[in-house]
């Protein structure tokens, strides 16, 4: 039926995600450079776009070292989870009416579950490395995930209430009349903050805070295992941008002069740039500040949003 989950879709989304994630390393470095009045990598290939290839070759040929004191099986498992959980999540995103891999009736729940699963990657990496800085990073990842997972789910529930479904495809289709960013503005802001925390990127990069913890949970990683963490992080950005677009910005809906898929990717690109901009300009909060902010400010706000939406749905 309508080409959903066909081989072309699977290959396209999988290959596109990995290639885009790799390219984003270059995009990030160049954009960051422009925002800091530098030029960034511009030597390899046109505009330096082949810098990614050079980096990949470097990563592949690096010594693949596992510390003798590490818990070997878990040590190898952790970066795999980082990539698998996020890539699996992408299979649930409805990119366009006939583009997507899986079509579940509870895909939002499944996605939130996969997002929570991806927390295991820094956690296990920190534990398996068996050294101090990774352990601290892993602890922070765990505590941070407790602080944002709750209000992330609660913020998304506002959309679920309005759409009346947990199916992302139905949620997008129900935004035909208007995007949920309007009625769910508070939920959108909350979800955006949670999504940044979800990918563990600045300003919420406490688990790998370079200035404090060397490289946090992936201090002991090298070679392609480090590369998997790295690419996994960028696929996480893709996934979360796609999720925000799906939930709040009307997914593939847009004026008819562009195909639906183009609209989706365009909105996604906007959020990816926002992610990079946040990373460049905002300072990292302290550890306890983040948790206090999550529990005492954002969680009550998410509850208010939820109750408000429920009241609206009941009385209108």
């Amino acid at each position: 039926m309508n080409g959903l989950g066909s081989a072309a879709d699977i290959g396209g989304i999988l290959g596109g995600a990995i290639v885009t994630a790799a390219l984003m390393i270059w995009v990030e470095r160049r954009l960051l450079a422009f925002w800091q009045e530098r030029l960034g990598p511009n030597r390899v290939g046109p505009f330096g776009i082949m810098q990614v290839m050079a980096d990949m070759v470097k990563l592949f040929f690096k010594d693949e070292w596992v510390p003798p004191f590490a818990d070997r099986a878990v040590f190898v498992l952790a970066p795999t989870i980082a990539m698998l959980a996020t890539l699996l999540g992408l299979s649930l995103i409805p990119f366009a009416p006939d583009v997507g891999v899986a079509d579940l009736s509870f895909s939002l729940l499944c996605l939130l579950g996969l997002a929570s699963l991806s927390v295991y990657s820094p956690l296990l990496a920190g534990y398996a490395s068996h050294s101090k800085y990774p352990l601290l990073g892993g602890l922070r990842a765990a505590a941070q995930s407790f602080s944002y997972e709750v209000f992330m789910g609660l913020a998304a529930m506002g959309v679920v209430m309005q759409a009346g479904s947990l199916d992302l495809r139905v949620i997008v289709e129900s935004q035909y009349r208007g995007w949920y960013i309007g009625p769910q503005l508070l939920g959108f802001v909350l979800f955006l903050i949670a999504a940044v925390a979800e990918t563990r990127r600045a300003p919420f990069d406490l688990p790998e805070a370079e200035q404090e913890l060397v490289a946090g949970f992936h201090t002991e990683y090298s070679g392609i295992k480090f590369g998997m963490f790295y690419v996994g992080e960028y696929i996480g950005i893709l996934l979360n941008s796609a999720l925000i677009v799906t939930l709040y910005l009307g997914g593939w809906w847009g004026p008819a002069f562009l195909p639906p898929l183009a609209w989706f990717l365009l909105k996604m690109a906007g959020f990816i740039v926002l992610y990079l901009l946040l990373r460049t300009s905002l300072p990292r909060p302290r550890y306890d500040q983040l948790m206090r902010f999550g529990w005492l400010v954002l969680l009550p706000l998410a509850l208010v949003n939820l109750i408000g939406t429920a009241a609206w749905e009941v009385f209108s």
């Binding site: 450079a33 422009f34 925002w35 009045e37 530098r38 030029l39 300009s281 905002l282």
Partner: protein, 171 residues
């Protein structure tokens, strides 16, 4: 909250300002004329070596990278017969230039001194000596100094009064 949004805007605005980067091999950076780079030995306006081999530069050098050997020519001028700077040790601090009483040793705005092998970084006198007077075009040490050389006796230098006739009573 407002400050965070403001920070975002300030950083985003930088997208439209030109980068401060100078793309070096294609584009030369603009160096100040006082830039401290490659060290040279300069000459008088008449084309003679300025260096009098006083060794003050070698003494003041914090990394001991200057070696020289004094000699004297037939006209009575002192000059270094060996002058060697090991640029792999030089830190381009410019103290030698400050110490030099004859403005002979000078630092120039040239930093492109990369070599494949360390021993190429040791510059001998013929590599250091330039043809011009450097930063002080009119200055000639021997013509203002009191020491006698061939063609200029004592009390015959510039701004110097002729010798006093100690047997004359006239002022």
């Amino acid at each position: 909250m407002i400050s965070l949004l403001r920070a975002l805007w300030i950083v985003f605005r930088r997208l439209f300002t030109p980068a401060a980067t100078v793309q070096y091999p294609e584009e030369m950076p603009k160096l100040a004329s006082r830039y401290r780079g490659r060290i040279v030995l300069t000459r008088d306006p008449d084309g003679q070596e300025r260096c009098v081999a006083c060794s003050l530069c070698a003494v003041v050098c914090p990394t001991d990278c200057i070696v020289l050997q004094k000699s004297e020519d037939e006209s009575g001028r002192w000059y270094p017969e060996v002058f060697r700077i090991n640029f792999s040790r030089c830190i381009y601090c410019g103290l030698c230039e400050e110490a030099c009483p004859t403005e002979a040793i000078q630092l120039t705005p040239d930093f492109e001194m990369g070599e494949q092998d360390r021993h190429f970084m040791v510059y001998e006198k013929e590599h250091l000596l330039t043809d011009g007077p450097g930063k002080y075009p009119g200055y000639s040490f021997w013509h203002v100094a009191g020491k006698a050389i061939a063609g200029k006796d004592k009390r015959e230098a510039q701004h110097e009064a002729p010798p006093i006739d100690i047997h004359s009573l006239l002022p």
